[in-house]
């Protein structure tokens, strides 16, 4: 009797052949993938954009942006489709949005793949270093020289939204390369309840704290202060940096790349003490994870006396549908006031806002369209229209124009704040530096760490990140 041959079994030599084939297949695939990695060697700096805009296509074209989901993103799409289409009827503007917490990852994972579904990246000013070092965005220096009137801007705005290495002094370096142009200016505004603390806003930081404490004591159920404390994005970090600046501290010494001993000097510790021991007790219980939306909700529901938020995110506060402070915009404005931040030892305010940057991986025709859009957007008449549409322009003439100043009660705050701005580091290690600061400030604000310990940890860990470029293995821990 013949036994049927058993399926699924082969001879020892047959199996060896199969194993060897599989191994060879994997090795070959790995080598192909390794080879791809080595191609990257050539691209270590930003490629240059042409000085003059190349001929534009007449075919239908969609120019895609990437930003995070907030009102200015929608305003930009509406504005650009209404106005830019008048000049380029074949172009459609699409502003793709992602949640704020995913913004950095959404852009840089596409940059890592060397393929982007956006043509213009709207980068936070601090992201520039990472994008430039990796060669992800175009060098616009020659383009700007030929097409943009740089004298029309406050030099620091041009520097902050486009220059790398950053202008640490707050002044633009005429010889530095530019990688972006301003899209949306922004800073913090102090939002205060006129009906609770009076029409005149506090002028100093100490006065602001005592006014908030008095308001809280006199109005049960209303907290004295509301500000960003979350450990996501740059929330808690911007809050500490603001107080640090106001109390005369510094984030680092850029020349020697020294953080430890600079950030946690006497002024730094005083700022942390003010934030944790004087300001935090005046906030609502459980506000330790608040960011933009939560602060706005607290103001709109009449639950805080004084709040701090980004100007570009404050428009919704005047919407009667979202507010319990009044049934009309005028009624709300009778109760809410907007002012520049109080000063103390210095009058520094945080620089917010973002610039436009052309993706190095966008097709040539779209890069040309992107350059054309940027040139159009920075025109004086367009900047004024952008201001009237709810945007915050960067050209000085637009900032001082009635179109901008009359468009919102907080716009004068921005114009007055421009000479007082200070940004964070825009080094390639930014994402890690801000995460260290965010988590430690958040820990201090929520009682998980003592203020002194938190600040010393920030300084030590951030210094470790800056010093670890030559470490063999373990980078990123």
């Amino acid at each position: 009797m013949r036994h049927p041959k058993r399926l699924g079994r082969t001879s020892v030599s047959g199996r060896k052949v199969q194993l060897a084939t599989a191994a060879m297949l994997l090795v070959a695939t790995t080598l192909v993938a390794c080879g791809d990695g080595q191609d990257d060697d050539a691209k270590v700096s930003a490629p240059k954009a042409p000085a003059t805009i190349p001929e534009l296509t007449k075919d239908p074209l969609t120019l895609s942006f990437i930003w995070f989901d907030w009102p200015p993103a929608h305003a930009l799409e509406d504005f650009a489709n209404a106005e830019y289409k008048k000049e380029r009827p074949n172009a459609t503007i699409k502003v793709n949005t992602v949640p704020n917490a995913n913004w950095h990852d959404a852009m840089f994972t596409q940059f890592a793949a060397r393929k982007t579904d956006f043509d213009i990246a709207i980068l936070d000013s601090q992201h520039i270093g990472e994008a430039v070092t990796n060669g992800n965005i175009l060098d616009l220096t020659d383009f700007v020289k030929k097409n943009i009137d740089v004298k029309a801007y406050d030099p620091y705005l041009l520097a902050a939204y486009g220059q790398f290495p950053q202008a640490e002094t707050g002044k633009r370096d005429e010889n530095a390369s530019l990688y972006g142009l301003p899209l949306l200016g922004d800073t913090w505004t102090m939002i205060y309840r006129k009906d609770l603390i009076g029409d005149k806003p506090p002028q100093t930081w100490d006065e602001m704290i005592s006014v908030a404490a008095k308001c809280q004591a006199n109005n049960p159920g209303v907290s004295g202060l509301a500000f960003h404390q979350a450990n996501g994005s740059d929330a808690a970090a911007v809050t500490y940096n603001t107080v640090n600046g106001v109390y005369g501290g510094n984030l680092w010494d850029p020349k020697s790349r020294k953080i430890d001993g600079v950030l946690n000097d006497t002024a730094g510790h005083e700022a942390m003490d003010v934030l944790v021991n004087k300001m935090k007790p005046l906030t609502a219980k459980g506000s330790g994870n608040w960011f933009i939306d939560e602060v706005n909700a607290s103001v709109a529901q009449g639950k805080s006396c004084i709040a701090f938020n980004w100007i570009a995110a404050s428009g919704g506060l005047l919407d009667p549908k979202q507010s319990t402070l009044g049934t009309t915009r005028e009624q709300i404005l009778d109760k809410l006031g907007f002012a520049t931040l109080p000063s103390q030892k210095t009058n520094l305010v945080p620089l917010g806002g973002m610039g436009m940057h052309v993706s190095a991986y966008s097709p040539t025709a779209k890069q040309a369209e992107a350059l054309n859009f940027m040139q159009w957007f920075e025109r004086a008449d367009v900047q004024k229209k952008w201001a009237a549409a709810g945007g915050v322009p960067s050209r000085t003439d637009a900032l001082e124009s009635p179109e901008f100043l009359n468009a919102g009660p907080f716009n004068q705050v921005y114009t007055d704040s421009v000479p007082r701005m200070r940004d964070m580091w825009n080094v390639p290690e930014y994402a890690r530096l801000v995460d260290i600061e965010n988590t430690n400030v958040n820990a201090a604000l929520n009682g998980a760490k003592k203020p002194k310990e938190a600040l010393d940890d920030i300084a030590k860990e951030q210094q470790g990140v800056l010093d670890s470029s030559n470490r063999k293995g373990g980078g990123g821990l």
Partner: protein, 317 residues
């Protein structure tokens, strides 16, 4: 033996040839083994491309300082990434957080899941409906679960604190205090995944032969005695498998942390998976993140092997 009947054709009077086709004209047929290879190869290629290759690629990267965004060649750093991870105080802290989370969540889910299954198994009416209702949380996306629990646990506007307030209890800062944040994560995970344990336990409970209980009843065995000597020993191996699945899932928890606490306050609820995400995507330290991932896989494999050996011993016993 009779001759085979001649095959007929359409044309009467003509007899079809019964001889087999000449070997030269026949198509080459696939053997059974060849056919099996043809059918398996698409799945095999997919497995190689989507699982085996990425794993080997990650293994290769784990010995380098490669960064996905910085580009450039991947420099070999030997075991540098592994040593740095294993000696990092930050990693130790995340490992402890993960351990507390896994033990807390899985224990709670096992106790609750088994209890619910036991109670359901004793019902004769409405068992199907009850089981279906209990399974609903498990069918929801963890991101959705995280988002609505985030609203419910909000200290100012959340429904949980509102209920506590109506009972005369004070406000609890569920997500922003070191102690309560981890407890909140365990609580939400338990809410979502207790049904999984319940489902497996229920399958085990319904498979226990009735005659064992009948025999115990004849012997006048107490309820507790029946549970201890019949129910538990027979369901235990299945329950342990459910615990294994849940422990592996809990070990790689990311989504709930991301939505509910973002790892905070500070880093007190950062799990190992959340930390790997930060290493991989904040600084784009791909080499370190790969080593971190490989180490996590190794930990799971080793622990699973030990656990399976225990299960086998239990089975043999």
């Amino acid at each position: 033996m009779s001759d085979p009947a001649p095959a007929t054709t359409d044309r009467p009077g003509q007899v079809a040839s019964a001889t087999p086709p000449a070997p030269g004209r026949s198509r080459r047929r696939l053997s059974d083994r060849g056919l099996a290879v043809v059918f398996i190869s698409p799945a095999l290629l997919l497995l190689l491309g989507m699982s085996v290759f990425p794993l080997l690629w990650a293994l290769y990267l784990s010995f380098t300082d490669y960064s996905a965004t910085r580009g450039g060649p991947a420099r070999f750093v030997g075991f540098g990434n592994y040593t740095a991870i294993l000696t990092s105080a930050q990693v130790h802290q995340r490992a402890l957080t993960t351990l507390i989370y896994v033990v807390g969540a899985v224990t709670l889910q096992t106790v609750l899941g088994f209890t619910i299954a036991y109670l359901i198994s004793r019902r004769t009416h409405g068992r199907g409906l009850l089981t279906t209702l209990f399974l609903v949380p498990m069918m929801l996306s963890p991101v959705v679960v995280g988002l609505f629990w985030r609203f419910m646990l909000d200290a100012q506007f959340g429904v949980i604190n509102s209920m506590l307030g109506s009972l005369g209890l004070g406000q609890v800062e569920w997500l922003t205090r070191q102690r309560t944040a981890l407890v909140s994560l365990i609580m939400v995970d338990t809410w979502q995944w207790t049904p999984f344990i319940m489902l497996i336990a229920l399958a085990g409970l319904t498979a226990v032969p009735r005659y064992l209980y009948e025999a115990a009843s004849i012997d006048r065995a107490s309820e507790w005695f029946r549970f201890r000597t019949i129910t538990l020993p027979l369901v235990w191996p299945l329950l342990l498998i459910a615990v294994l699945f849940r422990a592996i899932e809990a070990f790689r928890l990311f989504d709930l942390v991301y939505i509910l606490t973002s790892g905070g306050p500070g880093v007190s609820t950062e799990t190992l998976s959340f930390h790997v995400y930060k290493v991989a995507f904040l600084g784009f330290n791909t080499g370190t993140a790969s080593a971190y991932g490989i180490l996590m896989v190794l930990v799971v494999i080793v622990l699973t092997q030990l656990y399976l050996r225990y299960l086998n011993k239990l089975k043999e016993g």
